[in-house]
């Protein structure tokens, strides 16, 4: 035995190759399942025509039964606030009040809000006096003043459909739900390459994926066009003032408490918004959401979900930004290894699985863009499809950057609202950052 020790080199290479193969195969399979599940969920609404039909609002019938308190937090938004209030007042529902929440340090917005309140008794103004301000604190301030059966949340620049409240009213009564989440849709897909992808993200999220979450009984809620029964909201003690994704957190806490959430999406009834004005603000917005998701994950309310599958879905959903970041880097790397490294053909095939799933996702995104154009009567040109495909990898890089940034900030304990640092400078983007997807 000792005469001729095994040649280290030979064995080493063989061992390395085997190890590499096993490692690559394992990583590939993990990535594949991740991408496959994400794809499966993303396509939820289009699984069958019946599912698609069930994602819409039912036609309101049998009159009205509920009263609404609509919260409208506004900060340095004197430019758009009045228009939003006027549009909300055009709502065809007969029983609602609008509570505009303004900061004590923001006289311009307060002036606009008070003027509106003077003109119409349905508008009231609540002043938030917190030293450090953020959206959940503002809304918690207004909660005791709500007189309606249902609290609804909108943002100051939202375009709300006049029939929305009637449909939500009907949805509450027809389903006995505790929460109704309406659709939110970014519309300006033609503005830039990233806004195109951003719009499509919203489309797939609100059009499709959220319905799956509602069905499974675990749902991270959106930041606006969300309606909660007032007593349920008060029992839950409102929003978490320290969470960067207070809307997601509320959804997680309510679903963990077994509350029924219903999602409805109608292209003519969605709340229309615009994408962040610059790549940097998109990055910051995404960082905040990711950090918020991380906080919600660490709070652990989702552990109280009754079903194992629900907890798994919660764990996966809250980790998604980080998994997405990892897979965005790993999938191309993996494919490159398969092509250029001398691994067995079988292993090479396995390494292509995630890329295949990514390709299928790409194709469905293209079809989704077509459908988006159809639904909203927007003209989608060939160049937009091209942008969608070419922009895909770059958007992945952006998402990965935001995910890494979020982890970094959370590690260093920086959980302030990033937007406070540039209050007054980027008015419009401040408010736009408040919509999670």
């Amino acid at each position: 035995m000792s005469e001729r020790p095994p040649s280290r080199g030979d064995l080493g290479i063989w061992g390395d190759l085997l190890l590499t193969s096993v490692f690559i195969a394992a990583v590939s399979l993990a990535l594949f399942w991740m991408a496959a599940f994400t794809l499966w969920w993303q396509m939820h609404a289009w699984r069958t025509p019946e599912v698609l039909a069930s994602t819409r609002f039912g036609r309101p019938e049998g009159g009205e039964g509920l009263s609404f308190s609509l919260l409208l937090p506004a900060r340095h938004e004197q430019a758009v606030l009045d228009h939003t209030i006027q549009r909300l007042l055009q709502s065809r529902h007969t029983d609602f009040e609008i509570i505009v929440i303004v900061g004590h340090d923001d006289p311009e917005t307060t002036e606009v809000a008070c003027a509106a309140a003077d003109r119409d008794p349905r508008v009231r103004v609540v002043v938030d006096t917190h030293e450090k301000k953020n959206k959940p604190k503002a809304m918690n301030t207004a909660l005791p003043y709500c007189r309606g059966d249902v609290v609804g949340v909108f943002d100051a620049e939202d375009q709300v459909h006049p029939d929305l409240l009637a449909h939500v009213d009907h949805a509450f009564r027809a389903t006995g739900a505790d929460v109704v989440q309406g659709g939110v849709q970014l519309i300006n897909f033609h503005s830039s390459w990233y806004s195109l992808r951003n719009c499509l993200e919203y489309f797939f999220w609100f059009r499709s994926r959220l319905h799956l979450h509602a069905q499974k009984g675990f749902i991270p809620l959106g930041g606006n066009t969300v309606f909660v029964r007032t007593e349920v909201l008060r029992d839950a003690k409102g929003w978490d003032p320290d969470c960067l994704a207070e809307d997601c957190d509320l959804g997680v806490r309510l679903s963990s408490a077994g509350k029924r959430v219903v999602v409805a999406y109608d292209s003519d009834m969605v709340t229309r918004e615009e994408t962040p004005g610059s790549l940097v603000s998109l990055l910051k917005q995404r960082t905040r959401w990711n950090q918020g998701f991380l906080q919600v994950y660490r709070k652990g309310d989702w552990k109280r979900l009754p079903g194992f599958g629900q907890r798994l879905l919660a764990r996966y959903t809250l980790m998604t930004p980080f998994l997405q970041a990892a897979s965005g880097v790993l999938i191309p790397l993996n494919a490159a290894i398969a092509l250029f490294l001398d691994v067995p053909v079988g292993v090479a095939f396995v390494t292509f699985l995630p890329a295949v799933t990514a390709l299928v996702t790409f194709v469905f995104e293209v079809v989704g863009l077509h459908d988006f154009g159809r639904q909203y009567g927007l003209r989608v040109r060939p160049v937009h499809y091209l942008k969608l495909v070419v922009g895909g990898p770059f958007y992945q890089v952006l998402l990965a950057g935001a995910a890494i940034r979020a982890v970094w900030r959370e590690q260093r304990g920086r959980s302030d609202w990033e937007l406070t640092s540039h209050v007054g400078a980027h008015l419009t983007e401040v408010t736009r950052e408040d919509v999670p997807a």
Partner: protein
């Protein structure tokens, strides 16, 4: 019959009308499936027993072992042995998925008893394939809205026609491809119109094509079926998904070649490109209706076993396409009718190559359209123009007419099929092969050192008897066509010990000099069977040039 919608699963969709909000969004009502229908289960089960009984009884003895069966099974054996995709160099003649499946199907039996891994016994594996295809055909017929009796008729036509019995017993890739194609059609016609069912249909279709590449021509018919069975609101996702899935799976074959560095021609290796070029440039077998052409002979060989299914099915397809406008059944069967049409047109190419197993991929569609045409005729006779309060005698005439038609069809078909199927369950066409295999396994000494030219059907028998696979037991045409084999025979026929002159070997020897020489320089030491079907075992002898073999060569 005025609506433009087929009376199929496109029953009024919930999506057309705004639904009342159900308790849980996403819940849907599913149309009653076959799994819940007792009558369907009983009918399908009884027919399945009949099909398996007729196809299974005497399966090893009839029909005659085919060279191609031997090829695929031997390659499946090579896969099982871990020798790659073939025991000779795999040269991209067909995509390998077909015999990989055969390897899986025969895996357990070959572990239990390795000697049984020969063509005759392993035909039993094909019974599973036939059974699966027959059941899938029934399901498809029901999903295409055929009445229960017509679905049963389609299954019986498909499984019991003497032509089907003969061809489906054999280890042909086409039979496996048919199974996958039927699965694809079933998924495409899924009553729930589920996105992932359509996606699955794309995967199954790609699997079918990778099993036998000729299935490619049927894909447009699959697309038509999918189009008709998808809903307007979800169609673009369903169809794009299916096409993407099909394309991605299909691309795996060139990808496989690329990974092996064999995509394009190059020095010292085979390539996918050359494989495809070879298949596309195979010498044509003439116009199928031109007496004396090879294709005509192939057609006659099909019609020898059965005329009802090929000709009746073709007529049925023409009838359905002609009454498209008026018949709901015709529109529901648009996919299968189109498949028959495409396959017929491809067969009618004047210069094309028409292999004997070509008709296998048409069998399920022929059966479907024939059954559909029967249903259409039955409907026309029994129900067309019928009103409330029709006079009793008119109804009586209708019933009598239908009964007469059915009886006439039965009188024509049953005796012919009875004869054909009786032959299939009683005849023994393979005694010469078994005799030759036994002789070579017992009478030859030193088998490990003997070199024998043998046709593919007997090759595995020799391997199990101790001959060395490759250089010892040699696929006869490799001696001339595979440089790797020719290299081991520097002295040509003189390096051989035996030639097993089966009909295939004698037929092909004309174009294979080494085989021809070996036949000429050998003498018969044992002979099994009579006439053109006989199998001679000829020992190669350097000095005894026996002229007799020359005359037999053709």
């Amino acid at each position: 019959m005025t609506s433009t919608l087929p009376a199929t699963a496109t029953a009024p969709a919930a999506a057309q009308t705004p639904p009342a909000r159900t308790d849980r969004p996403g819940r849907r009502t599913r149309p009653p499936g076959l799994r819940s229908s007792r009558s369907d289960q009983v009918l399908c089960g009884l027919l399945l027993v009949a099909v398996v009984a007729v196809q299974g009884w005497n399966i090893t003895h009839y029909p005659t072992l085919s060279d191609d069966e031997g090829t695929y099974l031997a390659q499946a054996w090579a896969v099982q042995q871990g020798e790659g995709l073939a025991h000779y160099t795999y040269w991209y003649d067909h995509p390998p998925l077909g015999w990989i499946q055969i390897a899986l199907l025969t895996w357990v039996p070959s572990l239990v008893s390795p000697e049984s891994m020969t063509v005759g016994p392993m035909r039993i594996a094909m019974l599973l394939v036939s059974a699966a295809s027959a059941v899938l055909l029934y399901v498809l017929a029901r999903r295409l809205a055929l009445p229960r009796w017509a679905a049963g008729l389609a299954m019986a036509l498909f499984g019991l026609s003497p032509l089907s019995v003969v061809l489906q017993r054999e280890i042909f890739l086409d039979n496996l491809a048919v199974m996958w194609t039927l699965l694809a059609f079933c998924l495409a016609a899924s009553p729930s119109r589920h996105l992932w069912h359509h996606f699955g249909a794309g995967i199954a279709a790609a699997t079918a094509v990778l099993t036998k590449e000729t299935m490619l021509v049927v894909l447009p018919a699959l697309l038509v079926t999918m189009w008709r069975h998808s809903h307007r609101d979800t169609r673009k996702f369903a169809l794009t998904g299916a096409i993407t899935a099909c394309a991605l799976i299909g691309v795996s074959y060139p990808l496989f070649a690329l990974l092996k560095g064999e995509l394009l021609p190059g020095g010292g290796h085979v390539s996918l490109w050359e494989g495809i070029t070879y298949q596309m440039s195979r010498p044509g077998s003439g116009f199928v209706l031109d007496e004396g052409s090879g294709s005509y002979g192939v057609l006659q060989s099909w019609l020898y076993y059965d005329r009802v299914l090929p000709l009746g099915g073709l007529a049925g397809a023409v009838l359905l396409l002609a009454v498209w406008r008026w018949s709901v059944t015709a529109r529901a069967l648009a996919g299968p009718a189109l498949a028959v049409g495409i396959l017929a047109l491809v067969a009618l190419r004047p210069s094309g190559y028409l292999p004997a197993m070509y008709i296998i991929q048409a069998l399920p569609f022929l059966a479907l359209v024939l059954a559909g045409a029967a249903a259409s005729v039955a409907h026309a006779v029994l129900r067309r123009g019928r009103r409330e309060g029709e006079r009793r005698y008119v109804t009586g005439i209708r019933v009598v007419a239908a009964a007469l038609l059915a009886a006439a069809a039965a009188v024509y078909v049953v005796p012919r099929w009875y004869d054909g199927d009786r032959t299939a369950v009683t005849a023994d066409a393979n005694a010469p092969y078994r005799g030759a295999a036994r002789w070579l396994a017992t009478e030859v000494e030193d088998r490990a050192d003997q070199r024998v030219l043998v046709d593919d059907a007997l090759w595995l028998d020799l391997v199990h008897a101790g001959y060395e696979p490759g250089p010892g037991a040699i696929w006869f045409y490799k001696a001339d066509l595979d440089p790797a084999v020719t290299e081991t025979m520097p002295r040509g026929w003189r390096d051989l010990d035996y030639v097993v002159a089966s009909p295939t070997v004698r037929r092909d020897a004309v174009d294979l000099p080494t085989v021809r020489d070996a036949l000429e320089h050998s003498r018969t030491v044992a002979s099994f069977g009579e006439g053109p079907a006989r199998i001679e075992i000829r020992q190669v002898t350097a000095d005894a040039a026996v002229g007799a073999s020359r005359g037999d060569a053709r």
